[in-house]
Each structure stands twice: as C-alpha cells, then as structure tokens.
Symmetry: C2
Subunit: 276 residues, 2 copies
C-alpha cells in the first residue's frame, strides 16, 4: 500500500475516533480519553527513557490514567469539589516509586515523571470539564476547539508554504523548528480567527463574537507554543516522531501537542469570563 | 555564639513565623506563605542547578509564587471555581521559557521546573483552602496538622534513638536515609495518633475520633514519605542541606519536606469525607 493511502486511511481513522469521543456519549468519551492519556504519557516517558521503559515511568503512566479516571468520575457524579483530592491522592503514590528502587531510578527520571503529570495528565483530566455543560454531556465546544486548532494548522501550512520559505523570510523559532515561519504564524492566526468567528455564530460554540476572536487568538498562540514545546522534547531525545501509533503520521503526542496547551489555555479564558 | 544558641534562636524564630502566619489574619498568612513558596521553589531549583541559578529556574520560581498568589486570591475573593484557570494560565508562560534560549536550557532542566510546579507550588497553593472555613480565615486546622507532624517527628526521633540504632535493628529505607529505623517509624506513628486524638477533642481540630486516627495515620505516612523523597533529591544533588535560610537547621525545604506531602494527603481525606 502506498504511503499516501496509509496516511489517508490512518488519518481518517484518527479523525473518526476523535468524533466518536466527542459526539456519542460520556462513556465513549471517557474510554477514548483515558486511552489517549495513557498513550500520551507512554510516548512522553519514552522521550526520556528511550527504547526500554523504566519502572518509574510505568507508574507515571498508570498514575496519569488514574488521575484522568478520578477527575472524570468526579465530573460524571457531579463532585467537582473533589478534584483537588484526586490530585493529592496520587502524589504520594507517585513518590513511592522513587523509594522502591533508589539506586535504579535517578531523580532526573522522577522529575520527568512529575513533569508528565503536569504536562499530560492534568490538561487531559481537566479537559473533561469542557464536555459537561450543566451536568449533561456535550462535546460540541471541545469539537469547536479542535476545528479551530485544525484551521490554525492548515492556515500556517498554506501561508507558510506560499510566503514563508523564500530566502530571507523570517523564521519563528529556527533553533527548535527550522521550517516554521512568521508568515505561517500570521496565516494560522488569520485562519483560526475566521474559524472562531464562524463557529461563534453556530450552535457548536455560540459565544459572542468578541470572545470568539479572543479565544481564537489564545488557541492559536497556545497551539503554536505547544507545538514548539513538544518539538523541543523530541529534539532533546533525538527522535523525529513521538511514536508510531498513527501509521504515516507519527505518534499521538505529535497530533495533540498543540491541543495540550491550546485547550487548557482556552478553558482558562472561558472559566475566567464565566462563559462556561 | 555557640551552635546551640544559634539553633535555638533560629528555631524559635521559625516557629514564631509559622504561628504568625496561622493565627493573625489572612493577609499575614498570604504574605508568609507566598515567601515560603518562593524560598521552597528556589531551594528545589538549586538542587538541580547547583550554585548558579539557571534562567529557566527563575521563571519557575516566579511561576510558583504567581500560582500561589492566584489560588490565594481566588480563595480570598470566594472564586474557588477559578483555580483551574490559574493553573492553566501559568502553563504557557512556563513553557515559553524553554523557547527563549533553546540551546541554553536543556529539557532536563525544564522537567525539573515542571516538577517544581507539582511538588512545591501546587501543595503550597492548595494549602490555602485549609485556612478558610466558610469564607472566614481560620488557621487552626493547619496548625493542628503542623503539631501532628511535629509529634510524628519527635516520636520517631525518641523511639528511633532508643530502640532503632542497635546492631541488627531493621532500617526503613537504608539506601535513602541510613539512620531511619522501623522502630522510629512506629514510634512516630504512635505519637502522631496520640496527638491527633487529643487535638480531635479540642477546638483546634474538632473532628470525630475515628477520623482523627485516620488523619494521624495519613499524616505520619505522608510525612515520612515526604521526608524520604526530599532526601533523595538532596542525595542526588550531593548536598546535605537544601539551603541555609534557618541558621543551624538548614533550608526551609528541609523543614517543610514532610508537610509538602502530609498536608495535601490529609486535605484529600478531609475533602473526600466532607469534613471540611
């Protein structure tokens, strides 16, 4: 099978899984998001551990999925106030790992495990709050965010390819990602704002236009930052893709790197302005 | 001045600062806890950076204090639902640091910075919830926790010295802390439960005896774990004390290592059983 078809089919499958998670019901969402959390944590830990996963990383992956499950359960059973306890119960468990085999697990690994909790598990867990509106499951807002991130990517790619790759065109962060240009950055922003404004008028998002624009800007900035941030982990680990779970596309972390920062940042805005 | 007097005076001063934070009003608490957060983050970052603090660590210390200030402000103004936004707004800021100087800041440092947020800033920030009861400032519960941790320490020291240092006595975790014995562990547990039960009957804690005992066990376990955990960071960094801010006693992180795990764990229990 040619690479084109592999990419197309696996890309479509990934898209179908995302839609299923957001449109069917809370249990499908919970199951898929829990699996995503585990895969993301696995790929993130692999960036530090290399080919063979360390014992501490296994605990960190399990802890990430548990954190998601606990926060999800709090949300499903309407116990939002219990979030804090979920985070707190996991801390001691995490820490125990580094006492189990002190000579085998270095503190650099432990730091990476704790970073996994705040970089992967916390955003994934708290994204749960976005799919419940007044106790009812409603994935439309999170879907809008994914669409906006997608438009931001497409815009950056198109405008960046057309105007950003000439000799002398200014690059966004050449040390981290040599191809990303400022032209692409502005193109992505334009596409993202257009998507945000259109979605703001639909039933999907239904948010006043001023807030739609603000959200678009936050999502574009957060997404770009998340993308560059993940590139740095990969560059440091000396790998090109975070994994191989989506054939032809790389790992799940490569797909969701923008979302891991963009969606929490957008949620913060929504909470702050009582829009959710 | 002899070492004994230096230790006594600085110990008393530290104790006075703790009491001031917990007994005067919410502003004294906020100011002292914010400074503590900064000092703890500073000492934690120094464990990774060594003598000269890296640029990324400065951001991580500032971010830790900001996180505390944001959560504190949410609590003072009765906006508990905004916690999440506080955490989320800080993430992108943190990440920006590692893009500012990609070649200078390694990802090991970034992992350590993120670990600082979850190990130092999050527990310190959320301890704020413990000093407000129904919107009013009330440091008595947190004071009880400190007393219980103190009793656990004293019990472990006394019983451990008396029974745990004989030839052949079993050690708790010899690879991390060669002197800590199981005798000391059980002694600390006994003292902690006694303190918990007594405090449970007073106005300070006022909690049913069954929950007092459970809280004591959690605090003792969390405290021991926190102590060992901090020892590992220090051992890995090759230092004996985390700092020198309390003359004769070492750093603030050495003083609060137990509390950083014990108090969040106890809070989780309180929240879970609706005792707070």
């Amino acid at each position: 099978m040619s690479n084109f078809w592999i990419r197309t089919i696996s890309g479509a499958a990934y898209f179908a899984v995302l839609l299923a998670a957001l449109l069917i019901n809370e249990f499908v969402f919970g199951a898929i998001a829990a699996i995503f959390t585990g895969v993301l944590a696995f790929e993130f830990c692999r960036l530090s551990d290399g080919a063979s996963l360390k014992a501490g990383s296994v605990v960190s992956i399990v802890a990430s999925v548990c954190l998601f499950a606990l926060v999800y359960a709090c949300e499903v059973f309407g116990m939002q106030a219990k979030y804090v306890s979920a985070v707190f119960f996991l801390m001691p468990v995490m820490l125990l790992t580094c006492l189990a085999k002190p000579s085998a697990i270095g503190m650099k690994t432990v730091a990476h495990e704790l970073a996994c909790l705040i970089y992967i598990a916390l955003p994934m867990s708290l994204s749960t709050t976005l799919v419940f509106r007044g106790g009812e499951f409603d994935g439309s807002l999170l879907l809008s965010f994914f669409i906006m991130i997608c438009c931001s990517d497409v815009g950056a790619y198109c405008i960046g390819t057309a105007f950003g790759q000439k000799k002398g065109s200014r690059k966004l962060c050449p040390e981290v990602s040599p191809l990303k240009s400022w032209a692409g950055f502005w193109g992505g922003l334009g596409f993202c704002i257009a998507a945000g404004v259109i979605l703001g008028f639909t039933q999907l998002m239904n948010i006043p236009v001023i807030h739609s624009v603000a959200l678009s800007i936050i999502i574009h900035l957060g997404g770009t930052l998340g993308d560059l941030f993940e590139s740095r982990w990969k560059r440091d680990a000396g790998v090109k893709d975070s994994g191989r779970i989506i054939p032809g596309h790389g790992g799940l972390l490569d797909r969701l790197d923008s979302s891991l920062i963009a969606i929490p940042a957008a949620s913060a805005y929504l909470i702050l302005f009582n829009l959710w």
